[in-house]
Symmetry: C2
Subunit: 144 residues, 2 copies
DNA sequence: ACAATTCCGACTTTATTAATATGAATTGTA
DNA sequence: TACAATTCATATTAATAAAGTCGGAATTGT
């Protein structure tokens, strides 16, 4: 039931883009330094986000990435699903659920459905903007 | 975010013991046949359940396993945690949470905590007895 | 005695995770 | 225009975990 580094890093990456947004592209090198994540690994991850149209990339010197939309328009669910794949605890209750031949008599599936719903409700409610707000609170706490 | 076969099989195994309980020990062979799971693999899984005191074993011919307590006394959470380990989506919000050095400034941890709470609330509420009930409903549906 | 079972530990195979490595393509700046 | 800083693309590797399989010892009812 773990979320892998891919998903976790993707979330931190997107949050970093939101928090440090100045209108100028932000380079992966900066993000990697701030987040203490291998730059090369981040390349792979942001490539997914880029292909999905979540970020805009600027190539060449002084290049980098920026969020394409407002932070409020990204839910945690969107980001995690893109990088982790379906968040369903078993494949038979996922978005494109893979039926199994025991479906008829299977009772455990009700458990998985409930877990799935509970998780989705959380991740689809929280946006990047929420997280930026939390970050701000923290910053305030420690600076006072 | 997947639950592995270990946990899924353990749940089906326990449910099988609850549903087919007659007071006599039930052999793994029977369970394996009914649940379509490798008997050898089930041995490993039930060994965990046995050591944890969830089931009672009877060795030798006509031997097998029985639930030690009433189905209502087993939650899904108990069974999954035993076989899957902590259900927390990341280790820093689990029961014996492993701190990381970024804890102070980390904001994503709030997301993981909410997911963790949501999942626990579901699995700690559902008991084996609930599932036996569901199974009964299904049986009724299809027999009418 | 024997067959059916649980019990135990080692082994194997496959898939996934988490990167690293190499280098090409692009572009602002000196 | 050269160059350095970047993104982009693909291949490779190393470590770990998942999902079993295998062989046989120990126990016990018939």
């Amino acid at each position: 039931m773990k979320i892998s580094t891919r998903g976790r890093y993707a979330l931190r990456l997107m949050l970093d883009l939101a928090v440090y947004n100045t209108g100028e592209p932000i380079s992966l090198k900066d993000i990697a330094r701030r987040q203490q994540i291998s730059e090369k690994y981040l390349e792979q991850i942001i490539s997914l986000l880029n292909k999905a149209g979540f970020v805009r990339s600027v190539r060449g010197a002084q290049g980098g990435y920026m969020l394409k939309r407002d932070p409020a328009e990204y839910t945690v669910g969107m980001i995690l699903r893109l990088t982790e794949g379906d968040l369903a605890p078993v494949s038979c209750v996922g978005a494109e659920s893979v039926m199994c031949e025991r479906m008829q008599e299977c009772v455990t599936v009700r458990v998985w459905k409930q877990i799935n719903d509970a998780v989705n409700q959380v991740v689809d409610r929280i946006t990047l903007a929420d997280m930026v707000g939390w970050q701000q609170e923290k910053a305030d706490q420690y600076s006072i």
